[in-house]
Subunit: 400 residues, 2 copies
């Protein structure tokens, strides 16, 4: 259901919902014919699947490979085609930058240009992060009239640029021409209210070009994904529950904050996250906990490491289950098959364990094939939240 | 498909469609681990399921618990999030009141107020229906300028108020403050065209307050769900068929009338309904017949009574099947699991028996788990009608 209907039907209750997101959960068979989940020794997940309703979630739409933003937003109940988060904003979330609603953020890339200013390498030979730290420090000398300028290194040739001030707009075009042999484009306003912001950014770029002169291979920059913090309704307010997020990685904390969850202080490992979850269990009605390693291993194309990551998270399942949430969900934001070494469009295994009112029917195990035959079938990830709200008796009747 | 496309594609034919709605059909397992349908001896339904395409219908959206209105509208092909029926109108339908398109209807509740006019009991101690009959009679003395006033008892403290006249609007707020200790609210117009209607209703309330003085516990009233007959396209016209409805209970007759079906005179039992169906078989292309008892038993939380109700309707299945409809559908407007003692959000078992062009694949039986594995999968209830129209060869090709 859409968020407006969810808002209309939500009622408070004293039930609890736990959402474990295993990042990049879904996979594909390798030469053995069996996927990471099928090969992993995940007896706790397999056993829980038998007492749960299982299915496959479609993160955005059939065939669409989602980034982390849409993948998570869908699991939080937001239609990822309607609610989008600009790349600049995601970059800010990813380094824990405290973005304000009026800020304009951009993803910056250092690049190489020739004597005529034509781009010869869009990634400046992927300079090491330390070099980017040094160059960002240099760019901080730039002053612009009436706005504050933040330049923050991210990784390799990537950095974050944020302008802070009154009346800024993100109705702007990007400067990366997406190919080499041509000059970077100027920033152009796509609406009259963005003219000033475009001028400020072009001023920034001109000053930066001077400061970067002679710093080959990083003697120029491009700006992409110019965006403001999108107006997102708060899921905590819509669902009338206290929502807490536990994630070691900044981007997931940022996404959770974006949708109105409290971001809980935690350590850097999943064991730390689980400890935080147990400590703060009584303070929240809805808790989201994030497990990163499966995605990282998938992205690396490391089949065995992905198996190991899945076995690692399996080790925590009983501990999570023993918290006795009224609804315990195990989901993925997208698939990251090791054989693809990247995110993919494949529907993602989903396990829905409700203490009561469940129609579970012994799914054989927790993997792609078994979940495809699960009672929940293949369905949009954005319906996960309403299903949880219903089973937690947090929704009232629709219509008389 | 939506109704506009259905209108575009519909063509007449001499085929017949029969829709049996078993109200509150879906259920949940009790302590035995098996649901009402799984425990009931419904051999005729089980056998028919094996020669049919089965699935589960989602009445409104995942997680949404529908009232009877949205549940039936969806099975009649109407998107229940787009076409809504106000509570006042449903109350009128529920007592067979002949509502006109220009009428404004409200659900009235008798309540108790203290000397300062503050509500002390929103339901007036649920006074017996006979008392409400007497009080409604008293309220009929009220005259309002330029409009006719109807006051009809419903049940316990509930009654129906209808204003009939020119230029009435339902853009109005309710007077029930939804809590005790405060005074009823005045009716307020939410659009300029409703100012006159609001004044008339506040005049009615003032006169009623005088007439009810001293009639504790029913010494005041509140008005809710002020609504006009919604503009509904006629399904008979859209599908170019003659549609007849057979239901012993007024609300279901009313809903059928709302969507343009002929409401056939019948008796008070399901046996009467089946008799009417057989008698009027030749007069219609589409026939809807309603079985109420499963829902009533579920609402009472009576697992055994729900089993008995399902076994009762099973006794009629061969008789209905023998009518040889080209398409015979057995559906529910929503689930009413006895363990929840109320409507629920769970998808509803659905059986689709087509004489020809069927891809049935021996569903093991007619119950929640078997239907979850059925060839139709889990799908929106509003698609049921187009599926029937197609199998009855009543839809032409889309596009060249």
């Amino acid at each position: 259901m859409d968020l407006e209907l969810l808002r209309e039907l939500s009622v408070p209750n004293d039930t609890k919902i736990l959402l474990l997101v295993i990042d990049g959960l879904g996979g594909l068979p390798n030469e053995t014919g069996r996927s990471e989940l099928e090969q992993a020794n995940i007896q706790r997940l397999d056993r829980l699947a038998q007492e749960s309703m299982c299915g496959l979630t479609v993160p955005v739409a059939p065939g669409v490979t989602p980034g982390s933003g849409p993948g998570h937003l869908a699991l939080f109940g937001y239609d990822p085609e309607k609610y989008t988060v600009g790349r600049g904003v995601l970059e800010a979330l990813g380094i824990d930058f405290d973005l304000q609603p009026s800020d304009v953020a951009a993803r910056g890339n250092f690049c190489t240009v020739d004597a005529e200013g034509r781009i010869t390498d869009r990634r400046a030979g992927r300079i090491p992060t330390e070099k980017t730290v040094e160059l960002c420090d240099r760019l901080r000398r730039i002053g612009l009239p009436g706005v504050q300028v933040f330049v923050e290194p991210v990784r390799e040739h990537r950095f974050l640029l944020v302008l802070r001030g009154e009346g800024l707009s993100d109705k702007l075009t990007e400067t990366d021409p997406q190919r080499e042999g041509v000059k970077p484009l100027p920033v152009r306003a796509t609406a009259p209210e963005a003219e000033t912001t475009a001028r400020l950014l072009n001023d920034f770029i001109a000053q930066a070009a001077d400061l970067l002169k002679g710093h080959e291979p990083a003697n120029m920059l491009t700006l992409r994904g110019l965006a403001k913090h999108p107006p997102m309704p708060s899921i905590a307010e819509i669902c009338r529950f206290r929502a807490g997020a536990i994630a070691a990685y900044p981007m997931y904390r940022g996404l959770a904050k974006l949708v109105g969850m409290d971001v809980l202080k935690t350590g850097s490992t999943f064991a730390d996250e689980v400890e935080t979850l147990k400590q703060r269990w009584d303070d929240y009605d809805f808790l989201f906990i994030h497990f990163k390693k499966a995605d990282a291993a998938g992205e690396d194309g490391d089949f065995q490491a992905k198996i190991a990551a899945l076995e690692e998270v399996d080790g925590y399942i009983d501990e999570l289950h023993n918290l006795q949430a009224d609804v315990f969900m195990i989901a993925g934001d997208h698939s990251t098959p090791a054989v693809l070494a990247g995110h993919s469009w494949h529907p993602v295994p989903f396990l829905f364990h409700a203490k009561k009112f469940s129609r579970h029917d012994s799914t054989e195990g927790f993997n792609e094939k078994a979940c495809a035959r699960g009672v929940l079938g293949t369905f949009p990830a954005k319906d996960v939240l309403s299903l949880a709200m219903a089973h937690a008796l947090r929704l009232t009747k629709y219509g008389a």
